[in-house]
């Protein structure tokens, strides 16, 4: 007899409605502040949006690099709920490998097209394998022994490893910035669409990252080991009972993350034509922000977040000043965590809930 009556909705407090609204649209509104404000300013000053569009285009290219790094964060977080602080520095070492390999392979600015492409492909593979192996080794040494320890412990070893890797970089190429030969003439304009110049660097970013993302998403969704990864992420105990080798799966996750970081290292070296031992710290934080923005643990979210952070960063670089960019990105990070800790397309996680 109870079932016949329509269950009365509990009256909702006004605060709750506001909170729900803010949680749903707050982040999107915050994200739109910078582009919209500068869009209006551009319309007033120039009469068109080409400057903003160029910012966005540059931002997407940069964002592709952040997205590659963010994938590493999100995969590892998804599977063992650890923020791998050392990941940014792993990327930095990737860019160092790229720097040295360019010298070893003997590519110069005057190399012709075909050797250049094959040389770069070789370097890409070396960077990816080097970073992937290193990441797996770090997991073995620093995280696996602490698998059952309280969560603070692996986090601290991750911070420790971040410093160790930074110092490896410092010993390797010294404390100063090192210029990378501008092999692809990354700032040369290839063609222009709607007043937006497309450069060689943009093409490189797209050509390398899009297949990698495509491969990653399909790999995680359809391959056998990808399924094992998702199962382990959901419930390691149950996965083990189903015959999944959890340790191998976790190692493999670190390998995948490392591969992406290596690829990001090469693109960064070619695109920015500059490597520095400290670049990993900021890159790591930016990429982590990207991963959180998309919803940590969510692969597509990390890619989306990376692209958005790239745009914010580029607008801030171009309009406010490069020196303020990290502060602005971190301010965004804090705002995201306040308004929508689960990210743009993430689910409620235990951590963020």
């Amino acid at each position: 007899m109870e079932s016949a009556s329509i269950p009365a909705r509990p009256p909702r407090a006004r605060g709750e409605v506001v909170r729900e609204f803010v949680s749903k649209y707050g982040l999107i509104a915050i994200l739109l502040i910078l582009p919209v404000a500068y869009g209006i300013q551009d319309l007033q000053d120039d009469g068109d949006l080409s400057r903003l569009a160029t910012n966005i285009k540059d931002g997407l290219s940069n964002g592709a690099i952040w997205a590659l790094i963010a994938v590493g964060y999100t995969l590892v977080y998804g599977i063992i709920e650890l923020i791998n602080f050392a990941h940014g520095d792993l990327f930095m070492l990737g860019s160092f490998v790229a720097f040295s390999m360019i010298g070893t392979v003997g590519l110069t600015v005057s190399s012709s097209f075909v050797p250049l492409v094959f040389g770069l492909l070789l370097i890409l593979v070396v960077c990816m394998v080097a970073c992937g192996t290193l990441n797996t080794m770090i997991e073995r040494v620093a995280y696996r022994p602490l698998r059952d320890a309280p969560k603070l412990a692996p986090l601290i070893t991750a911070v420790g490893f971040s410093f160790i890797l930074q110092n490896v970089g410092l010993l390797w190429l010294g404390g100063g910035h090192r210029g990378v030969p501008d092999l692809i003439e990354s700032q040369d304009v290839l063609f222009t669409i709607l007043g937006v110049p497309i450069t060689h660097g943009d093409i490189l970013a797209v050509v390398v990252t899009v297949p990698l993302f495509f491969f990653m998403i399909n790999f995680i969704n359809f391959s056998r080991i990808g399924r094992a990864m998702r199962a382990t992420a959901q419930d390691p105990q149950a996965a083990r009972l189903m015959g999944i080798n959890v340790d191998t799966t976790i190692s493999f996750t670190f390998l995948l993350g490392g591969l992406m970081a290596g690829a990001a290292g090469l693109i960064y070296a070619l695109y920015q034509t500059d490597v520095w031992f400290f670049s990993g710290f900021t890159a790591g934080l930016i990429a982590f922000t990207a991963a959180v923005m998309g919803g940590i643990g969510n692969l597509k979210g990390a890619i989306l977040g990376g692209l958005i952070i790239g745009i914010i960063q580029q607008i801030s670089d171009n309009r406010i000043g490069t020196e303020w960019t990290p502060a602005i990105v971190f301010a965004y990070l804090v705002l995201i965590l306040v308004f929508r800790p689960q990210g743009l397309i993430g689910e409620q996680t235990r951590e963020a809930g």
Binding site: E81, L82, I83, V141, A142, P145, L146, D148, A149, P150, K151, L152, A153, P154, L155, I156, T157, V159, G160, F161, S162, F163, I164, Q166, N167, V168, L170, L171, G175, F281, L285, F288, T289, V292, I320, G321, E323, W324, P326, A327, I328, F330, A331, L333, V334, L337, V338, P341, R350, E351, A352
Partner: protein
Amino acid sequence: MSTLTTRARTFKPPSRIGKVSTSTIIAAAAIFVAAVLPFFYDSGSGFMNDATVALVYVVMALGLNIVVGFAGLLDLGYVAFFAIGAYTMGWLGSGFFNSADIHIGVAEQLQSQPGIHINWLIVMPIAAVGAAALGALLGFPTLRLRGDYIAIVTLAFGEIIGRIAVNSDEGVFGIGDFNLTNGRSGITPVDKIDIPLVDRFTTLNLRPWYWTALALALVVLFINFRLRDSRIGRAWIAIREDEVAAISMGIPTVRVKLLAYAMGAAMGGAAGTFLGSFYNVVNADQFEFSFSIFVLAMIILGGLGSIWGVVVGAIALSFINTRLIPDVLNDVPSRIGLDFDLTQLGFGIFGFLLVIMMVLRPQGLIPEKRHQAELTGGGLDGGEETVVEARA
């Protein structure tokens, strides 16, 4: 009935005198040695300098220990509070704002100089309260979050403060052109600490500095002990051990966590004012992320949550940083045929220390008693692993 009365009559409170525990004796001896130490060294020597800095690091480490060790909230942006303390000293105790003309409680020769000159004894509480307010403000967004996210938000906060310090020589966030921090050149000279009835604080005579730092450290140490055993301290530890259980026991987690942030920040701010005056300069390069890790390494080395452990860890790491690496170990690489400067690698070594400690001895050099009790009482198998109970 009769037995009860006899018992009641024969009951005597346990006598306190003559039954002092060994640890109390060791602590008293250590404090005595620390107090008379300056008489054995030249008053302007490098050792006095290092010892003074080590004592200030003790204050900072004890502050961070409240947040990380007691309440179990991993704070990677502790350097921000050091920065706030140091800048408060720089702003309120130097000729930096030379259009202002404010003098409170300072010596004769400063009275005539332009700028804001306020006695350190007044600046320090101001900085402590300011840092505490900012600490609570920082804690606010993290309250909804648990775990690793707190680490990241505090890290981001520390970086934002660091960026503001570096770049605010012409406007903040590119707005205006007010010189707030003077960037990497920094604010200098900063007024010397001036305490009535005590010798003048000069760069040549470091003894007053040392004793002031020691007094500060002892006060903070005392506060730490009282806090740990207080209602709030027990609430912090309860939150660290199991937040859900703590909530269901009626602990107001929001207020208690904010208090942890505020207390830790206040100590960082107080220490910052001292170092600002001691170094005679407040510049942006002092406030890098690596410093947060340096302080974190101290409390990990000593033992999370263990007050004496943290003191030992802070003194040990401070001397490793100022003495062992630059003086003793520096020519090791060249002796074995490698060509690099070991001082560059200071933070790599601390990173290595963090990893080694976490993997091999997560409870630290002097583990917290509560953890020891847990270890001997219950978890016999793999109990080692559960020692660091701070739930990040």
